[in-house]
Subunit: 371 residues, 2 copies
């Protein structure tokens, strides 16, 4: 039993056939627009741009944020390399923040102490789809005039309730946000991602950067009579074939989410007794919702985690650990910076993810773990 198995709604091929028959195979066709509109309408995202990956969405955000060499960007160390690389590619210095003790997300109370005159942005990562405390983060950002780019790779259909009592979708709170539709996510397109631009100041330029640095979009709207090179940019648009696949998934979003929540709750209830052994279960803070992206355990030690992974593999059930803390990576250390982030290191050593997918035989996993 693998750790992940992509779920197919059955309509992916139908929509792909439609895209292929329509002979619009490059980007920004009707399926791209349908997907983008879906997100804008359902979650109130100001403006959405499908991208070829969440990495690319973060890179687009880094360009829009006008990161220049020497700018500092604050983010958790316990995250995927792309969170950092997107900004390193623009010359940023990455400032790593430790994790919370009750959750792998960044410890919001530490952020302000990391701000310097060179800080340009904060990139909170909603680990496992569970919100960071956005009120705290937005307050620091507003105080020091920083941009907030939510790394919402895992956070589709998840929410944050701030002190005002309003429940806001993740991805709608920061100035920008990046989502992933990689095959390991709740909603997938194989490879794929999306940039959300909530701050209107960035929308016009986002359209240009998305279209390779040209004003092609304005040209096709008829605003101008020829288009040309007006900015930097890249080829961020996914093919319509990818957008068609994604559309099939979005149509089934509620069904997928409902099933995943049942799986998550079954894990939680079934494994609650492990807490007596010092094994921790995921905690969802009061301000956050659970989008059932992932179920993990926090083992008492690296050794006990290795043992559990080994034991389960004997019964052909594949558990996997997660991020190596980026501050301990060869790349970061090669730059001569050595720091210690104890919580992040603990999650790198002790967190283990259980198989999680729509068609999971959860009873088999529960039996394997509890025996």
């Amino acid at each position: 039993m693998g750790f992940n198995k992509p779920y197919l709604t059955g309509n992916e091929q139908v929509y792909i056939q439609e895209a292929i028959s329509g002979l619009h195979l490059s980007g920004n066709g009707q399926f791209t627009k349908k997907c983008q509109t879906f997100f804008e309408n359902r979650y109130g995202f100001k403006k959405c741009f499908l991208t070829t990956s969440c990495t690319d969405a973060l890179e687009m955000a880094a360009i829009l944020a006008e990161i220049v060499p020497g700018d500092e960007v604050i983010m958790p160390s316990f995250t995927f390399v792309s969170t950092a690389n997107a900004f390193v590619l623009r010359g940023a210095k990455i400032v790593f923040c430790d994790s919370r003790s009750d959750h792998p997300g960044m410890d919001e109370s530490l952020i302000e102490s990391l701000v310097t005159p060179r800080t340009k942005a904060i990139v909170p990562v909603h680990y496992a789809g569970v919100a960071c405390d956005m009120d705290v983060i937005m307050a620091v950002a507003n105080k020091y005039n920083l941009l907030v780019i939510e790394d919402a790779a895992q956070a589709i259909d998840s929410f944050y309730t701030g002190e005002d009592g309003v429940k806001r979708p993740l991805g709608s709170i920061g100035h920008m946000a990046a989502f992933s539709f990689h095959e390991t996510k709740n909603i997938i397109s194989g490879e794929g991602g999306m940039l959300v631009v909530n701050d209107e100041r960035f929308i016009e330029r986002a359209e240009i950067i998305w279209e390779k640095g040209t004003n092609r979009a304005a040209f096709f709207r008829g605003d101008i009579d020829k288009y040309g090179w007006i900015d930097v940019g890249s080829s961020f648009l996914p093919s319509e074939i990818i957008a068609a696949f994604l559309w099939a998934q979005l149509v089934a979003l509620d069904k997928i989410q409902a099933r995943r929540k049942v799986i998550w709750n079954t894990y939680y209830d079934g494994l609650a007794e492990l807490q007596d052994l010092g094994i921790r279960l995921p905690k969802i803070p009061d301000f956050a919702t659970n989008n059932a992206h992932m179920f993990y355990l926090i083992m008492p030690s690296l050794e006990e985690r290795s043992l559990l992974i080994y034991k389960m593999r004997q019964t052909d059930i594949h558990l996997v650990f997660h991020y190596q803390s980026l501050h301990n990576s060869p790349f970061y250390l090669s730059q001569g910076k050595e720091i210690s982030l104890r919580k992040s290191e603990e999650y790198s050593d002790s967190l283990v993810r259980l198989p999680f997918y729509y068609e999971l035989d959860i009873i088999r996993v529960l039996e394997g773990i509890l025996n």
Copy 2:
């Protein structure tokens, strides 16, 4: 009648179904490997990496070339914005070279005069799939220790014969090369591209940058026991769905190329008489082959080109002009550099592309133009 119509072999859906059924939907699966191996075997490319676009392939090349701010990169002005943007994103100063008088490709004899101590790379663009004079370019590169990155976006299945009499595939001559499979190309995958790495010095790092700056590939080969952040990088891999589409096209490459060459020759023979009116037909230098990517006319003036486009549109046949010279673009001019490249400007004003695709009703176009 549109200017382009993507050609489907009929097997795209078959292979996409196979990819989807196999449940490997992210990148670097069996279809990606099949496509890469196809190119390595058929054209002797040292190492191939599918990418989400030719733009991304160029960006990957720019990272591998270790372009740093202030480095100069020589390229034609008559090219697509991505040729330049990929290097601008790394901080390069773009040095534009004029076109040949007999062909829109860059005038190789001018390159050496553009070399300075800051020059790092030359990016020849094989316009319309017709080779630049690579002997001249490689000689300048060797003399000044520069990298050559072929922009082979349009140059699949095209060749160059140097003074040694050996016929070499375009993309196999420079240190690196970038191909496009955008829906407007001979062989397509909607959006898509490929980086070719011919210089072995770059292969190991290319593998890492392709995999988001991690040594994931070495991990899956079993060379190391966990993978981590060891370099910059991005998410360059296309989904297996895209690779499956591309595979269907590659299987039919000879058939597609044969038909396109018939179309090209029919255009050439049918329109030869236009030369008496001062209208120029494409010229293929002796050292180059014709891969039938595009058929264009060079009109005596901007006015006559506009008239022809207008006249043809009355019969619902869409002719299109091509690149606005990048040295005259708002982006380049905004940096306060004003230069004149007469040939490039002429091609921007006078070149017009005729509809060109597998299922083209060429008789209708010929009648329209000649009447």
